[in-house]
């Protein structure tokens, strides 16, 4: 099985709004994929569907051939755009929490990354700034040896220096079996690490291609193409 994620006619409606409409998508293992689109285009909805936080109205979503559930949650590492760690926890307790629930969590790796970013594991999360919390969440998520990483706006709130470190972390942690989905609108910053891009507009999948193709066939950067496609 080389396909890690497959969407078949995937549709999700909210009361009066179609968030995703008839999306067909197959993602291979071993890729870094940019999920790109303007605000409200359906990026987060797709990621929530992958993680079983939403249930599709019609169509199907398969992760490693299975519908979202306990088994897929074991192999999907998800970074939401929220700060989702309980505020009362110390960083070390959050690490313990992850290693309790995820068999693929590597504590040693998490502590190494904390040290690299000069973060103190004894601190309580409520004493940390929003950007620092985001770094810690990303460290936790990337310390898993998952098959599919879903990173929703992973670099939005952190400074450029940490941004570089984070992107390096992502590249160096993903193995040939794993796929990373990065949803963002900061395209220029991540463009260099992407293998493929998926464009979403108003709930419709408008483009799925490799970054090399965009560069060779269109002669443009992803950033330029994005600005053209989504011109307001």
């Amino acid at each position: 099985m080389n396909t890690i994620l497959e969407c078949k006619s995937l549709t999700k409606n909210f009361s009066n709004l179609t968030a995703l409409s008839n999306v067909n998508l197959a993602l291979e293992r071993g890729r870094i994929i940019g999920l790109l689109g303007p605000n409200g285009s359906g990026k987060t909805t797709l990621i929530k569907l992958i993680n079983g936080l939403l249930v599709p109205n019609s169509g199907e979503i398969l992760i490693d051939g299975k519908q979202p559930g306990t088994e897929t949650k074991k192999i999907v590492s998800y970074l939401p755009e929220k700060t989702y760690l309980p505020e009362w926890m110390r960083v070390s307790q959050a690490i313990e929490f992850f290693s309790d629930f995820y068999e693929d969590f590597d504590q040693k790796k998490a502590y190494e990354m904390l040290e690299r970013l000069h973060l103190d594991s004894k601190k309580r999360l409520k004493t940390l700034s929003k950007g620092t919390k985001e770094k810690i969440q990303l460290i936790l998520v990337m310390s898993r040896k998952a098959d599919l990483y879903c990173l929703d706006e992973p670099i939005g709130g952190v400074d450029p220096a940490a941004r570089d470190y984070i992107l390096n972390t992502i590249i160096s942690n993903y193995n040939e079996n794993a796929t990373v989905i990065i949803s963002t609108h900061l395209i220029a910053d991540i463009e260099n690490i992407l293998d493929e891009v998926v464009f979403i507009k108003d709930g419709l999948l408008t483009l799925h291609t490799s970054v090399d193709d965009i560069r060779t066939k269109e002669g443009k950067s992803v950033d330029t193409l994005f600005r053209e496609v989504f011109r307001c």
Partner: protein
């Protein structure tokens, strides 16, 4: 995986309740000592009063925190941003209900024992204990009638009813919170409204049923054994049925209708 959820749920709640139990223990011992000493004269006579105030406040704090914690843990941990963490853990959704419910029951029971135990410690004098015993005897006499044969049955029924009412009420709160989060705003108001709505409907139904029953079983109602043989068992059965319904609807919402912001 339930074990791990329980472990973390206990950690998240114990850090608030254990200190309160220790404070209660402190005031219990202090109050017991000062109330039975007659050495405080003049300004010093304020001391027993102050310690008693501290004692009462620590009881109030335990009752309030136990109740609020039961509600807030479910809401905050599952339906605010923390829900993104909890619902992407590789655990079955109903284990979230189980872990929250078991820990809520545990702390309720511990808090009840702590408060009652502490009242005994503070108030126990030979006279008080005697009065308490007599009150208990009267209570039994009222419930079981002149015969003493069925006291054990009634005792078991009472304990079961108390325990099931606790579970039933917690599950109803959980269901109300789960219904409230379906709204896109005003989730907490939605939860209160569902709770009030469901209890009102149930009250009306219960009143109608009791009224109907009293017409049908006119003669038997006079008999005190009716409580043991019918009223209590019917109550127990309805509590079980309602709890099961609440539980399954809550889990269904978890699985199909999560609406995290």
């Amino acid at each position: 995986m339930l074990n791990k959820l329980l472990k973390h749920e206990l950690k998240a709640t114990a850090r608030l309740l254990i200190p309160l139990y220790l404070i209660l223990l402190f005031f219990t011992i202090m109050d017991r000592i000062v109330l039975h000493l007659d050495i405080f004269k003049g300004v010093l006579s304020l001391i027993p009063g102050l310690i008693t105030i501290g004692y009462v406040l620590s009881i109030v704090a335990i009752v309030v925190v136990t109740a609020i914690l039961m509600i807030m843990r479910f809401y905050k941990n599952l339906f605010t941003d923390e829900g993104y963490l909890m619902f992407t853990l590789p655990v079955k959704s109903y284990h979230h209900i189980n872990s929250k419910l078991i820990v809520a029951i545990l702390w309720t029971v511990v808090s009840i024992i702590a408060v009652i135990g502490s009242i005994f410690i503070v108030a126990a004098t030979p006279e008080n204990l005697k009065a308490f015993n007599e009150g208990l005897k009267m209570f039994w006499a009222e419930l079981s009638g002149p015969s003493e044969d069925h006291r054990l049955t009634i005792f078991i029924e009472l304990i079961l009813m108390l325990f099931l009412s606790l579970i039933n009420n917690i599950l109803l709160i959980y269901l109300s919170i789960a219904i409230g989060q379906l709204l896109n705003g005003h989730k907490i108001i939605g939860a209160f409204a569902s709770y009030i709505g469901i209890t009102t409907v149930l009250q009306i139904l219960a009143t109608l049923l009791i009224f109907a029953a009293s017409l049908i079983f006119k003669d038997i109602v006079e008999d005190v054994t009716f409580i043991r043989t019918t009223v209590f068992p019917v109550t127990i059965l309805s509590l079980i049925i309602l709890s099961v319904i609440y539980y399954f609807i809550t889990d269904l919402i978890f699985k199909r209708k999560l609406n995290l912001e």
